[in-house]
């Protein structure tokens, strides 16, 4: 089922039987004349990994801040279903801890503040993230990778239903990145939801069930990774008179865009419409000498969506 929701669409509705644990409804934040988040409708479902994508300044951290109650929305609201704020573990922008405390003591300070962390949990988590061998080193002496690991441990302190990770593999070596990438689906298998904000699109493509793409505070697309990637498929067509062919193809109703590169055309259109394009060209005595389908990566779609000046036009805009 195609679950893609476009900008300006009503609140996405989860398929029946899927529990939505958190929903933002028309969430908006303005800082003076700047609209950081603009009418955001987003939902996080139980046990899913939702990739939260957007270029710098897109409004990701502001959205997370509003979800966590750190930033007051100008309009709209966050609805928590069967999850309380304290059941959300989050790293926002970067791990932040007390530099004078050790990793263990930082977790202890947070555990004391939470008041609901079982004994032994801290040591288990330090073991889990590979920091058990330096329990007494002050946080300020940690490498970036160690800080990230401690950040992840802190998100899991209170057995959270939702884990929000902002660039969790920043500063990690390849082995560490792989560990985190394997940890994220594991969290989902344990029944937790994960909201993953990342610039590493291949990382998102590997671990996320759905993605939401944000630009200038507006939600451009949400949907499953395969559906979003499917948006960006291109038909590559080789034809004798490319300029005339381009005009004919542009007139077809299912074609989104056509670009000409030498004798080759790149046509943004559904893959199954290749025969229709070929027929239209044939009717004009233009014969296709080669046609292939080029599948896009999430990165292609992301760049196409976010680099377009006005963003994609959608119904209701």
């Amino acid at each position: 089922m195609n679950e893609i929701a476009k900008r300006g669409s009503p609140t996405p509705v989860a398929p029946s039987g899927v529990e939505v644990i958190l929903r933002t409804m028309g969430l908006t934040k303005r800082f003076g004349s700047l609209t950081a988040v603009d009418g955001l409708n987003l939902e996080v479902r139980r046990g899913e990994v939702l990739g939260f994508l957007g270029p710098n300044g897109a409004g990701k951290s502001t959205t997370v801040g509003m979800i966590l109650g750190l930033i007051a929305p100008t309009a709209g609201r966050v609805e928590y279903n069967s999850v309380s704020l304290k059941q959300i573990g989050a790293i926002i922008e970067a791990p932040a801890f007390y530099p004078y405390l050790s990793g263990r003591d930082n977790l202890r300070a947070l555990a004391l503040a939470s008041g609901d962390v079982p004994p032994g949990r801290i040591d288990d988590l330090l073991e889990y993230v590979g920091l058990a061998d330096r329990p007494k080193s002050p946080y300020r002496t940690y490498s970036m990778g160690m800080k990230q690991r401690l950040g992840i441990a802190s998100t899991l302190l209170s057995d959270p239903a939702l884990v929000i990770l902002d660039e969790p593999t920043n500063g990690l070596d390849p082995a560490g990145q792989r560990e985190i990438r394997s940890l994220i689906p594991q969290l989902a298998r344990e029944g937790r939801s994960v909201l993953l904000a990342s610039h590493l699109l291949h990382e998102v493509e590997q671990v996320c069930d759905r993605v939401a793409i944000l630009r200038r505070g507006k939600l451009l697309q949400t949907g499953t990774v395969s559906d979003i990637v499917g948006l960006g498929g291109l038909l590559e067509i080789q034809v004798a008179e490319p300029e005339r062919a381009a005009e004919i193809i542009r007139a077809l109703p299912f074609v989104q865009s056509v670009s000409v590169q030498g004798e080759r055309l790149s046509v943004a259109a559904p893959e199954e419409r290749g025969a229709d394009i070929s027929r239209a060209l044939g009717d004009a005595n233009l014969y296709v000498t080669a046609m292939s389908v080029r599948h896009s990566s999430l990165e292609d779609v992301f760049l196409e969506l976010t680099e377009t000046e006005a963003g994609p036009e959608t119904e209701g805009d």
Partner: protein
């Protein structure tokens, strides 16, 4: 709120700064007594009289106040501004029972620090006065109700430190800067001392010292005539009321700002 208080106390007790500040409190008091006691031995008999054990409730209180203000202002400012500069406010707040609980836990911890500074300061002053009394063979009588007077002095010293700590806290919270939180209360303190003679000599401003923090009110509570003559000081209860109003205003401003601020 109790979990947050436990967390605050844990952080405070594990912070090197706390230990250094408390060490300074002890060292400064003991050092002041010994320095003045040894220097004043030959010439300044009246200085020695102030340093003897029977006068510790009076002289010690004044030094504890002077040192305590600087130490608590430092801690108050860094306690809240540090949360912003390290970004830990973002880590901690979602786990907290609420913003007001977070702030209340910080203020209670600060209050406890004031009490510990005053207690340690007086212990150091007591030790210093015992040593000075012994070294200079001074009158070792304690006078009437020594314990009661000592306790009263400790309460007064703690009370007059609080307005500056509250001012440091609110400034640091608004500015998110430890430096501003430390500098402004100290500037206010010295500006009052420097400007009060100007106020008292200007007819239309004569009333002002009674409305300021240190000049009229703290001086009245500490029985100090360093800035104003004894007859110019307001009554002690009036002074206590004015200081309480300042503390209430500063803390209200802190809550008002923190409860509505976006934590970005």
């Amino acid at each position: 709120m109790l979990p947050l208080l436990r967390s605050e106390l844990f952080k405070l007790s594990h912070r090197m700064m706390t230990r250094v500040l408390l060490l300074i409190a002890v060292g400064a008091l003991l050092g002041a007594y010994l320095l003045l006691g040894l220097a004043g031995e030959s010439e300044e008999g009246d200085v020695l009289e102030d340093l003897r054990i029977g006068a510790v409730h009076d002289n010690g209180m004044f030094i504890v106040y002077q040192v305590g203000v600087i130490l608590t202002v430092t801690l108050a400012a860094s306690s809240i501004a540090g949360e912003f500069s390290w970004g830990t406010v973002r880590t901690l707040l979602p786990r907290a029972a609420g913003r007001s609980s977070f702030l209340t836990a910080k203020l209670i911890t600060l209050g406890l620090f004031v009490i510990v500074v005053v207690l340690l300061g007086f212990l150091a002053a007591l030790l210093g006065s015992v040593l000075v009394t012994a070294i200079n063979d001074l009158d070792s009588s304690l006078g009437d109700n020594f314990a009661g007077r000592l306790l009263g002095s400790m309460v007064r010293a703690a009370y007059v430190i609080v307005p500056y700590a509250a001012l440091a806290f609110v400034i640091a919270l608004w500015s998110r800067s430890s430096a501003a939180g430390i500098a402004i209360p100290i500037v206010v303190f010295y500006a009052e001392v420097l400007l009060t003679p100007l106020f008292t000599s200007t007819e239309s401003l004569e009333w002002l010292p009674d409305a300021l923090i240190y000049s009229g009110n703290i001086s009245s509570i500490l029985d100090s005539d360093a800035v104003l003559e004894e007859g110019q000081l307001p009554g002690r209860w009036q002074a206590a009321g004015v200081l309480a109003a300042y503390v209430t205003a500063f803390i209200s401003l802190a809550y008002g700002r923190f409860l509505t601020r976006d934590i970005t």
